[in-house]
């Protein structure tokens, strides 16, 4: 008896909460976002600041899932804004508008026991397409010997497609290599394997633990990416279906114009202009 009463009381409370919560939230506009895991840290920082500056006016619901998820969700109208970590592709649905919000560099990394200093774009292309398969001192003074363990990212990752376009002269990384499903797993694999080579966004490689390789004599860091000398600089985009309107337009405008947003972007990423 007592148990039945408790259960019905609990159900009633749950029911009342369920009805009340959406009613309380409806006073603020909600911007829904989904997409790239790479830009998630930046977008959530920007959103938190924006909410602080515009209290009670706007709310965010941000989901990850990958660049392709962001594209498909925004095209189908499931979210207001999609996050994308690569340039627009021909295969993207028509009618999407891409707003660049920040830039980031894609660095080539090796194990810290194998301090490769510099690789030319053609050496990199040969390594990542599987033509060069053994380490030698000619490869930027590599101290590792034997087979090169190339570590790549899974199909659909924005960092993979940007890396192929910007650094590998448009050549594709073949499916021969292990495909890690996140930047964290890729970094862990390179850290634990002395003969490995991989690629990461600059704010991940700058956290240390791996050796960062210069490309064509230019170091992979924020300074050389800002000056435009480093080739592997990709962009984060906010994507909307048609031109952005209402709250989404205000948010995207704030990212590109305000000093507060620029300050957040400059901490680990690179402002677009």
């Amino acid at each position: 008896m007592i148990r039945t009463r408790r259960i019905s009381a609990a159900l009633t409370v749950a029911g009342v909460l369920g009805v009340a919560a959406p009613a309380a939230a409806s006073s603020a506009t909600t911007i829904t976002i989904s997409g790239a895991t790479a830009s998630y840290p930046l977008v959530s920082l920007l959103a938190a600041k924006y909410v602080k500056l515009h209290p009670k006016k706007v709310k965010f619901r941000i989901a990850q899932g990958g660049a392709q998820v962001g594209i498909n969700d925004v095209a189908a109208g499931r979210v207001t804004v999609g996050d994308v970590s690569r340039d627009p592709l021909a295969s993207d649905p028509a009618g999407l508008v891409f707003y660049p919000i920040a830039k980031y560099a894609i660095c080539v990394i090796t194990n810290s026991a194998n301090p490769v200093s510099n690789l030319t774009p053609s050496q990199l292309t040969a390594i990542f397409t599987g033509k060069t398969r053994t380490w030698s001192a000619a490869l930027g003074g590599a101290t590792a010997t034997g087979t090169i363990d190339v570590i790549s990212r899974q199909q659909g990752a924005g960092v993979l497609s940007s890396f192929q376009t910007l650094v590998l002269e448009g050549k594709k990384i073949p499916g021969t290599f292990p495909e890690k499903i996140s930047e964290g797993q890729l970094k862990q694999a390179v850290e634990s394997d002395p003969s490995s080579i991989g690629y990461l966004s600059n704010y991940q490689s700058e956290k240390g633990g791996v050796n960062t390789v210069a490309v064509g004599g230019v170091a992979c860091n924020k300074a050389d990416a800002i000056s435009g000398q480093y080739p592997g600089v990709a962009r984060f985009y906010e994507v909307t279906k048609g031109r952005a309107t209402g709250a989404a337009s205000a948010f995207i405008g704030w990212i590109s114009k305000s000093a507060a947003a620029r300050k957040i972007i400059s901490t680990q990423w690179i402002p677009v202009v």
């Binding site: 008896m1 039945t4 009463r5 019905s8 009633t12 899932g65 990958g66 660049a67 392709q68 998820v69 498909n72 969700d73 095209a75 189908a76 592709l89 295969s91 993207d92 649905p93 599987g130 398969r133 053994t134 010997t145 034997g146 087979t147 363990d149 190339v150 570590i151 899974q154 199909q155 659909g156 990752a157 073949p174 499916g175 021969t176 290599f177 292990p178 495909e179 890690k180 499903i181 797993q185 862990q188 694999a189 634990s192 394997d193 002395p194 490995s196």
Partner: protein, 327 residues
């Protein structure tokens, strides 16, 4: 309304409520199969059952599917998923065969031979092991086992011998099968122990009284009576091994390669991907229509195998029922 709910329930109402709840479970299962089936349909429609077979490069096919637009051409749906099917069968078979041997032997030890004190500790510890989440095993795998195998077991010569076909980094069949065995063995030990305990002591004592030696009596009477439970344990363990996704995604080398037994020891180091780990690896592309459909097709195949498995388990148990104690 609330007061009405608080009153003691009449029998007919309790019966209907409970009936509705159990019916709901059935409805959910059917709805789930229907949902997965509908989403998987385009793959079956374009490939028939040939998508389970070899040929083509699955990695290139998956890349095509992920890059296709919202309305993909029919050719995009082309799929040859044999490496995934083979990887699933290979890891599951190795883990279940190894695990079954280990768990039967260790159950006999725990129930029949171990001192009472050891038994009192061993059984709860094994229950605890059986409930460890698989991602923990995955972490131990990528942080400890994969670097150890990659740096200390694989020789430079082995790496070089296959370097143009496949890359050996330590993550691969050996580590995957090992961790999978460790994962499923405790479940089997726990179930088999319970069955052995419930075999009436008098049966075995009777056999010993007839002059059979104790080991023989254990194998011929106790173990024989527990056979249905051993089958049930193997079925449960196989289901867990088939569906294991996140651990395998972390330690298998994430590459749709079919390891070749002809390569000798190197076979154990070759990477692979299973149906379940492919769903984890490619879930980002779930909303690309063709790739999404392929992932649902993998899920459908796993669901189908789970059903086939429980039916097979039931059929195997039928003739064993003569002297069963449980199961």
């Amino acid at each position: 309304m609330l007061k009405h709910l608080r009153d003691p329930w009449p029998d007919h109402r309790a019966e209907r409520t409970l009936g509705a709840v159990s019916l709901l479970v059935g409805v959910v299962v059917v709805a789930m199969i229907g949902f997965v089936g509908v989403h998987a349909w385009p793959i079956f429609q374009h490939n028939g059952l040939s998508w389970l077979g070899p040929g083509g490069s699955i990695e290139a096919e998956i890349a095509n599917m992920g890059n296709a637009s919202v309305h993909p051409a029919a050719s995009v749906y082309h799929l040859n998923a044999w490496p995934l099917v083979y990887g699933t069968l290979l890891t599951t078979t190795i883990a279940v065969v190894l695990g079954l041997g280990i768990s039967v032997l260790s159950s006999i030890f725990i129930v029949e031979l171990a001192p009472a004190r050891v038994r009192a500790v061993a059984i709860p510890v094994i229950r605890l092991l059986a409930s460890v989440p698989s991602v923990i095993y995955g972490l131990i795998g990528i942080l400890v086992l994969v670097p150890f195998v990659g740096n200390d077991l694989i020789t430079a010569h082995q790496k070089a011998s296959v370097q143009n076909v496949v890359e050996l980094t330590g993550a691969g069949l050996g580590v995957t099968a090992l961790i999978l065995t460790v994962m499923i063995t405790p479940i089997m030990v726990a179930l088999i122990c319970e069955a052995l305990v419930s075999v009436p002591r008098s049966w075995r004592e009777g056999a010993i009284a007839l002059g059979v030696n104790p080991v023989r009596a254990m194998l011929a009477v106790t173990l024989r009576a527990a056979r249905p439970a051993i089958v049930a344990a193997a079925v449960l363990a196989t289901a867990r091994a088939l569906g294991e996704a996140i651990m395998i995604s972390m330690v298998s080398g994430s590459r749709s390669f079919a390891p070749k037994p002809i390569d000798g020891v190197t076979f154990l180091f070759e990477p692979l991907r299973t149906l379940a780990s492919a769903i984890v690896d490619y879930h980002e592309g779930l909303s690309a229509p063709a790739l999404g459909s392929a992932l649902y097709a993998f899920a459908f195949l796993l669901l189908f195998s789970a059903f086939a498995l429980s039916i097979a388990g039931y059929l195997i148990k039928l003739p064993l029922r003569k002297y069963q104690v449980r199961g």
